[in-house]
């Protein structure tokens, strides 16, 4: 059995290609770990983010292992395995400018967003969060995550919303990221960000879903998932409770 796995291939450190041509990252490790457990061969397919679900539906591949959060709206079209990673978003912007975007309880203050351009990936959880919470914000949509950082540095956008782990590793910890910082608390409302990041699959395959679920639980319980995370981050990025039961 060969399973084709869709991912962006440009979403460091979750799934990306190194200069030596290897596809690596946390998502890749998870996919490989799962495959080993369920005894399947893998084939990776690179797909731009905005076409990820249509491509799965069009049978371009069988699984999405691309840091995709398990949200209500996505569940209408596809199924997800149980989660293997936290799903959370955070805004990044210029440091030292107290923009006062959130009240102490962590809710956005819409007035203070006016006049700001916010960069997001098209069709991301962040986009749905903004659409719901700040419908009047000036949102600029990108086809990948890399351009977000480039344009933040270039000043084409004032802030971006993205995965904080990724932002830290890919950007803030690097030289080009000096002068930028997180300008929001971690946002992870289940309504938008789901219960976490899972493996996407087409609906109507309960058996495959069950195999994926148990494989992920096994990865958590054997400590593999922590091991994967520590390759890239100083801390694990999943919830140990997901492994119980």
């Amino acid at each position: 059995e060969t399973l084709r796995v869709g991912m962006e291939c440009t979403y460091a450190p979750f799934n990306y290609r190194t200069s030596s041509g290897d596809l690596v990252g946390y998502d890749v490790d998870v996919a490989k770990g799962v495959a080993e457990i369920i005894g399947a061969d893998l084939e990776f397919v690179c797909q731009q983010w905005d076409g990820m679900i249509p491509a799965l539906l069009a049978n371009k591949f069988d699984l999405i292992v691309a840091s995709m959060s398990i949200t209500e709206s996505r569940l209408e079209k596809i199924d997800f395995s149980s989660p293997y990673r936290d799903s959370v978003g955070r805004l990044v912007g210029k440091s030292g400018q107290d923009m006062n975007l959130f009240d102490p309880s962590g809710n956005p203050i819409p007035e203070n967003f006016s006049g700001l351009r916010i960069g997001l990936e098209r069709a991301s959880t962040y986009e749905s969060w903004f659409n719901a919470k700040l419908p009047n914000a000036n949102v600029v949509l990108y086809d990948g995550s890399e351009p977000l950082y480039l344009d933040l540095v270039n000043g084409r956008v004032d802030a971006i919303m993205t995965n904080p782990m990724k932002a830290h590793l890919r950007f803030l910890a690097k030289e080009e990221g000096s002068g930028f910082e997180f300008i929001s608390p971690a946002i992870s409302e289940v309504e938008f960000f789901g219960i976490g990041v899972g493996i996407g699959l087409r609906q109507g395959q309960p058996e495959l879903k069950a195999r994926l679920d148990s494989a992920i639980k096994k990865l958590i319980n054997t400590g593999k998932l922590t091991e994967y995370a520590l390759k890239y981050f100083p801390f694990p990025i999943h919830n140990e409770e997901w492994g119980d039961g």
Binding site: D50, G51, I53, P54, L57, A58, S73, K77, R122, A123, V140, L141, Y142, D143, P147, L150, V153, N154, G155, R156
Partner: protein, 231 residues
Amino acid sequence: MSFDLSLIVETVPKMLAGVGLTFQLLGLSAFLGLILAIVLLLMRISGKWYLDWPAQLYIYVFRGTPILVQIFIIYYGFPQLEFIRESVLWPIFRDPFGCAVVALSLNTGAYVSEILRGGVLGVDRGVLEAGEALGLSTTQRFIYLTTPIATRLALPAYGNDIISLLKSTALASTITLMDMTGIARTIVAQTYAPYEIFISLAIIYMILTFFLQKFISLIEAYLGRYTKRES
């Protein structure tokens, strides 16, 4: 295969909201591209190598590389260069609309200058000699004879280029612009229904192409009125 008609009814108006941006891109780039094309043309027919060669090189490079790559170099690549970030042009390059217009104009200019050159070369030499023999100066011949005749000769090819340009504006969606294609791609990302949305969008573009073509053939008929044997 399910084909969701209600989805089309619902989304077409949303896509049409982007038609204004599409036309702004088209109009502005066509205008700037034409000016660039005329400059390049004059450089090429100047007979001076130091004008001709740079123009040829420019045309060669811009016709030899994909427009998408040109767009990416200008949008993503230029800000990497310090001197561009510090130049007075930065406000243009900072703006995705500015980048798209610059890229489309630079690209179409290269093509159109060759089209115009074809028209100029197509002007009957005898006609120009007749003008010369009547005592018209070089400039007068260029204005009164070459320009009107070459315009008419170049028009059909120019029309095709305008239509190519319309289609190229769709690539602006790759640099965050919300033209019709950008909107459509966002809708697809939300509805996961590429088939319905993209087909509707294709039809919209075809209708635009159709009217553009009609418009061009009207101009052609007007400019070509002197080629018809019956009055």
